[in-house]
């Protein structure tokens, strides 16, 4: 495999950061669970609702939460991220609560849900997924770059009634750049010119930031 090695997470400094890098994988798995939980609950509620109403309604609720998490992770704006944190938290609480409930009160669960047995029917992915989701969102927030910056810049521009080329916005950008410089030795991979990459000089921060 003589494939060029991918630059580590340069996309993470772009506005689309919640859905790129490790987020790409996260969104894929969330989409998978959104589809499977919702479709399964839909079929069960339509065909045999009275058999296990609690289980099927919980499956439908889980499906809705997965859809919300998938969409907000793809959108990735500041508001979307907040909603994503809430939906990942609901998921984690849900899988822990329903997991415990399903073990204590088996009579209520004649048929399994996505979350019963702590997601054991789905290889415990439902238990692990919200943890990784929350870690990923926290990592982005700590880095404090990407969509939040774009949002903040836009808000500043709009609130001041300015256009993006005005002096004040240029000053905002300089301030932002200064703040970046202060924290730049931490987790931000620097953008290198293609030329520099071709010479194989690597990155100043090594492979830090490639998760």
């Amino acid at each position: 495999m003589s494939e060029p090695v991918a630059p580590p997470e340069t996309a993470a400094s772009q506005p689309e950061s919640t859905r790129s890098g490790p987020g790409r994988l996260l969104v894929a798995i969330y989409a998978l669970f959104a589809l499977s939980a919702t479709a399964r609950a839909g079929v069960q509620i339509a065909t045999k609702f009275s058999h296990a109403p609690v289980a099927y309604l919980l499956s439908a609720f889980a499906g809705a939460v997965y859809i919300l998490a998938t969409v907000t992770l793809i959108v990735g704006s500041r508001t979307a991220r907040r909603i994503a944190v809430v939906s990942c938290s609901i998921e984690l609480i849900g899988v822990l609560a329903v997991g415990t409930w399903s073990l204590l009160d088996r009579a209520s669960f004649p048929d399994a849900t996505v979350w019963s047995g702590y997601g054991s029917g789905y290889g415990f992915v439902p238990l692990v997924l919200p943890v990784f989701g929350l870690l990923w969102l926290r990592r982005l927030t700590r880095r404090g770059r990407g969509a939040e910056d774009v949002d903040a810049r836009q808000e500043f521009t709009q609130s001041a009634g300015l256009n993006a080329h005005s002096k004040d916005v240029a000053q905002w950008d300089r301030d932002r750049a200064n703040r970046d410089r202060v924290g730049s030795d931490h987790d931000r991979p620097r953008q290198l010119s293609p030329n520099c990459q071709a010479q194989g000089q690597g990155y100043p921060g090594g492979r830090r930031g490639s998760f």
Partner: protein, 121 residues
């Protein structure tokens, strides 16, 4: 229906997952050989769907026809969606998405068998 195609899909899906995870571990992006491997999986899945549709056309019915049709529609979409979503990512996480598709293809064959036991694995 013997289970040769389904068994091949399970083996191919797991092999694709290992290959893609290796690409992720070695920090490689999506490349042409990886896309070709996804294409092979897609063809195998289409053959399997064709076999099941032929069986339905022959007049046999599973207990839950709706679920089966859902699986028949979703199954061939998995490698396509994974390849598109993975290609948009120019980092090691593109192949990671393909790894999930390989695993899902294998799981789908088991689920098809559960939905309609005449589909052997």
């Amino acid at each position: 229906m013997n289970g040769a195609v389904a068994t091949t899909i399970i083996v191919a899906g797991l092999a694709l997952a290992v290959y893609a995870l290796l690409m992720t571990a070695l920090n490689h992006r999506m490349n042409v050989p990886m896309l070709a491997a996804v294409g092979v999986l897609e063809i195998l899945l289409l053959i399997q769907v064709g076999l099941v549709v032929a069986k339905l056309a022959g007049g046999e019915r599973p207990a839950s026809l709706g679920t089966l049709i859902g699986y028949l529609i979703a199954t061939p979409l998995v490698p396509v969606a994974a390849a598109l979503w993975g290609l948009m990512e120019r980092s090691r996480w593109g192949p990671a998405v393909v790894a999930i598709a390989g695993l899902v293809a294998a799981v789908l064959m088991v689920r098809l068998h559960q939905v309609w036991p005449v589909i052997h694995v």
